[in-house]
Symmetry: C2
């Protein structure tokens, strides 16, 4: 019982800091997304493709979350965008205070889009608000079509589903239509993209949508 | 600080119950394994192949752990082996008390091998002893070759690594030798198998090894 109380307190404290992060994003006109998925679903590859498409077209920054190593931040650094690495040292998800600390190490001035790549984990990050405008869940076709039913919280709490690695479909026992309908059964409001970082399929549609969202975020805010 | 204390207490309590499970396995001569991986790496497929090979040759039972749904237990049920489903309802890992409760619903009498399939999560289950003889981590080639470095605890705490979906290697940017050497860098003692549930590659070697381990477990124990 005490554990549940502590857990609730942890979440309440997290939500409070997430609210402060969200205010900061709003004041700076930043559209922030929180990318979540299983390990190896392709978050970093999609991020790289996104940076390739959007750098120079919209000012953006990246926060990389990993349990260990800065391998992903190294991949992102090649694109010359501001990036901060959070290493959780065993922690299974990002929390709002870690993002707050990362934000203290970067300037949001002039930034319109912030991409936060969470730890690869299809369970725990679903409960933690970081202050983002929305969660983007990436599901790889290689994981099978049943994952939305088996890990519903992440699909319920996300606004967008990117079904990645569609180039591998001919070699898999994964029914794309079933995967999509399982996800929509959990969350009928999901906006769905289908992508392959290998062939580039679907990346244009995803990036155009993301740029549109970032541009329609309130970049000019009247300060009281 | 209080959260850390609680967390330690949770782990201590878990370890205590895990010890009781381990005693129960020892008294019954059961070799118990705890299968862990990311969602969709192929734990259930490997389990199905293992049941196909070993049923009738060695008495075995299964405990299925899932966040939600009994889809995996349904898959296992087809093989006619005793199986109990644990649904964690959002919980990101199995704990020893859940396994203890599952054991109360099955007879270990005459069982030589117990396969526990954990929740798909490459982070949290690494910390929780269930009373198993060893953890078996499944890594799919589709997740990329860097995962042992990015999620080291799971590879450090496992005794066996099954590299699954090797049939997909021609279509992936995954270097099998690098994946293997990254894993061995984290844990030089890992026993490594390479499998494909699609082609059946490596399944014989894995099952032979598993049967040998189960048979060499102390099935007859002098009770005091």
């Amino acid at each position: 019982m005490s554990v549940i109380t502590i857990e609730r307190k942890v979440l309440e404290k997290n939500d409070e800091i997430a609210g402060q992060n969200r205010d900061l994003f709003r004041r700076n006109g930043v559209f922030a997304i929180n990318m979540v998925s299983s390990p190896g679903a392709g978050k970093t590859s999609i991020l790289e493709k996104t940076l390739e498409h959007l750098r120079g077209r919209i000012p953006l920054a990246v926060i990389e979350g990993d349990v260990q190593t800065d391998l992903d931040a190294q991949r992102v650094a090649r694109y010359g965008v501001p990036a901060v690495q959070i290493i959780t040292r065993g922690g299974c998800h990002l929390e709002a205070n870690l993002v707050r600390d990362a934000l203290a190490n970067m300037s949001l001035n002039g930034i319109h889009l912030l991409i936060i790549e969470n730890v690869g984990n299809l369970v725990c990050p679903s409960n933690y608000d970081l202050g983002e405008a929305m969660k983007i869940v990436v599901a790889s076709t290689t994981e099978g079509d049943d994952k939305p039913l088996k890990y519903p919280a992440m699909f319920r709490n996300s606004s967008v589903l990117i079904i990645n690695k569609i180039d591998l479909l001919p070699y898999l026992n994964c029914n794309l239509e079933l995967l999509r309908s399982n996800a929509l059964q959990i969350n009928p409001g999901l906006k769905v993209f289908e992508t392959s970082c290998r062939t580039g399929a679907g990346i244009d549609a995803w990036c155009s949508w993301l740029m549109e969202q970032s541009q329609s975020a309130p970049h000019t805010v009247t300060r009281s």
